[in-house]
Symmetry: C2
Subunit: 402 residues, 2 copies
């Protein structure tokens, strides 16, 4: 028998994404990704929850779905019924909720239930990279709607919907992150949510509401979810525990009418999401969620302040941004001369990692000199040092800041 | 605004699976699924592991991938390096392993990396339903190879490979569950594993080895994995903690050469598998795995005995089966008059759930009067009562047992 390694390459089907690179560890100053503050992981509460829930009902781990069936651990869904009503004004029952392995699985399931190659969907012009990439891989055309300080612009949405209708194109959905938009950190006011619902109904297009950052709102109470404002059950709503508890816990949720949920369930062939995580989270959240979130938000807000002051200090007027209304990131505009795709590469060599704007937008030209900076996982000191290091690289490469 | 519910149905793409039915709870006598013995969930060990690992490094939950990168929690991969060497004679490093959300995600990832509609793969004639269904949904043709008491028959495999080669068809892989085959519970001897490798090399077809039941072997030590016997790195190996620890923990693993693993990693866009489960399992398994498994196997073997004696008692000679070599299920042949698809429906009404043979085989005719009975999750008493109830239904519907 020969010992020449077998060559798998001729077996790969067309359209496979490029090979991943070997992971080489985290960089020193990491302003990317949805990582959170390690000191705000509610460790004691999670440990106590693990103890009590496992002692009480750990033997159900012997059963797929924990005797709760395929929609997920019932106490977690029951907590969500309360949470969604309290925070988002959504009235639903545990039967309307599917627990997912992160809201990313929610994205995948909704896309698989609704999309085929050649379809059109509407999204926010600047948008979560993972959402854009998923659509591109599916051969679906995303039409970007410009944003302002109140999120997706309804005048632009109305124009696009009318134009598409004139061409006989019915988009499969309007995807929006209305509550702490990613990456602009805007919150869509109620009036605009109602206008979106009016347009959605007029054109027969459902809304896909991604509320994964909705817990991280500073100041006033968040507006009701679009799902809560709909009178026609035309909204699919997803959310996550990644941002409000811990990202490495892969737990999200999906709320949808049964006509859709029953099709999505048929696509969820993973034998359930992680049960230990569901049990521990349900046990923890039922007792502590509403106390934990404000403490986390206070930490995040203070880091946002540090990031903004660091940018002012290191970049001066060269860095423009709006005060974020919540979340874990800042969407920053640098002078037009700066190409953030190139800045990304140069900064990486200096141990600083950023999200270059073109990866977070369907308007690559407009996003060319923009970047997303996440502030949640770094310490205040790392934020200051990292921004200073980024400014040094930017000055060297593009002459700004002066 | 109208309040007529929005109709999603016109938006569904072609080929969507039928809607799932509402879950209505478990039946009284459930002989289906990979559920395990609730009393054998190592609860105290898992609780202690949760405490110690969370206290020591729980703050890493703030980071996607737990500072271990996209291949999964490093201590879990390091445990697997030891386990795979000790049990399966596989020599690999942590860099060769990807932690997956159950071995089902492993199946999906391997299929996405290698298959396209129109492809052909080789599988065992009687085979895990989930594997068959996945292939069918992808538009891939599975060619079934008959089994005997030593697993997949190599004479039949040689014939099929030659026939396909003559037609210019190169199958994408040979899928096998060689160690406690599902549903026949056979174990393929070393000589046959080597012959499969010889044929695989001769025809340029890689092997996809699913070892998800490999820990549940009674009696002698299991043979080396096919992966361990390959000299050309032409085997993709997957495994699971569902069967040996607890099925609701959604954790599996995949071992493959980097040329394949790097393509699979690019397809795993779920931001990692559940971190809490990975941490707790690694902590538990490193200390207790090799002591836990024999105790579990003893429990399972005694339940298999109860199932076999119950079948003899209630069905007499009408039920034929081989003594299983491990696992959690028995593959039973009833008289030709029995149609197990119909028996399944009738039994369900009587509170007994079985896996009808045609759902676990690509040879629907041969499997018509066969069924799979899982014995792990029911108590000894439930097994006896459930088999008696099944015999009553079968007698009423088909006149057997007499």
């Amino acid at each position: 028998m020969s010992s020449t390694p077998f060559d798998f390459a001729p077996l790969f089907p067309p359209g496979l994404p490029p090979a991943a690179a070997r992971w080489t560890g985290r960089v020193k100053f990491d302003f990317t990704g949805g990582n959170n503050d390690p000191d705000r992981v509610p460790l004691e509460g999670l440990i106590a929850a693990a103890n009590s829930v496992l002692k009480r009902e750990g033997r159900t781990l012997a059963t797929y779905g924990l005797n709760s069936g395929p929609q997920g651990y019932l106490p977690l869904r029951e907590f969500l019924v309360t949470k969604l009503k309290t925070d988002a004004a959504i009235e639903c029952s545990a039967d309307d909720i599917l627990i997912t392995s992160g809201s990313l699985q929610g994205l995948d399931l909704v896309n698989r239930a609704l999309l085929a190659a050649g379809d059109t969907v509407i999204i926010e012009e600047d948008c979560y990279q993972g959402s854009i990439n998923r659509l591109t891989k599916l051969g679906v055309t995303p039409i970007g709607i410009p944003l302002d300080g109140d999120g997706m612009r309804m005048d632009a949405l109305a124009t696009v919907l009318a134009e598409l209708a004139a061409k006989g194109i019915r988009p499969k959905y309007i995807y929006t992150v209305p509550t702490v938009q990613n990456p602009t950190a805007t919150i869509m006011p109620v009036a605009r949510r109602l206008e979106m619902l009016r347009l959605a109904e007029q054109y027969g297009v459902p809304i896909f509401e991604d509320d994964c950052y909705c817990d991280l709102v500073w100041g006033d109470k968040r507006p009701p979810a679009i799902h809560a404002l709909s009178k026609t059950d035309n909204v699919i709503h997803i959310g996550s525990f990644s941002k409000c508890i811990a990202p490495a816990l892969r737990l999200g949720y999906l709320v949808a009418p049964w006509g859709v949920l029953s099709r999505i369930l048929a696509l969820k062939t993973d034998a359930g999401s992680g049960a230990l995580e569901q049990m521990v989270l349900a046990e923890y959240a039922s007792a502590h969620f509403f106390k934990h979130v404000p403490v986390l938000c206070q930490t995040l807000r203070s880091k946002a302040d540090t990031l903004m002051s660091s940018l002012r200090q290191s970049f001066g007027d060269a860095a423009q941004f709006d005060d974020p209304k919540g979340g874990i990131f800042l969407w920053v505009k640098l002078p037009d001369a700066v190409d953030t795709m190139k800045l990304y590469q140069a900064a990486l060599s200096a141990g600083v990692c950023i999200n270059p704007g073109p990866e977070w937008s369907v308007n690559k030209t407009r996003a060319k000199s923009r970047l997303r900076l996440c502030f949640a996982s770094s310490s205040h000191e790392e934020i200051q040092q990292g921004v200073a290091a980024l400014a040094d690289v930017c000055r060297r490469e593009f002459g700004v800041p002066k």
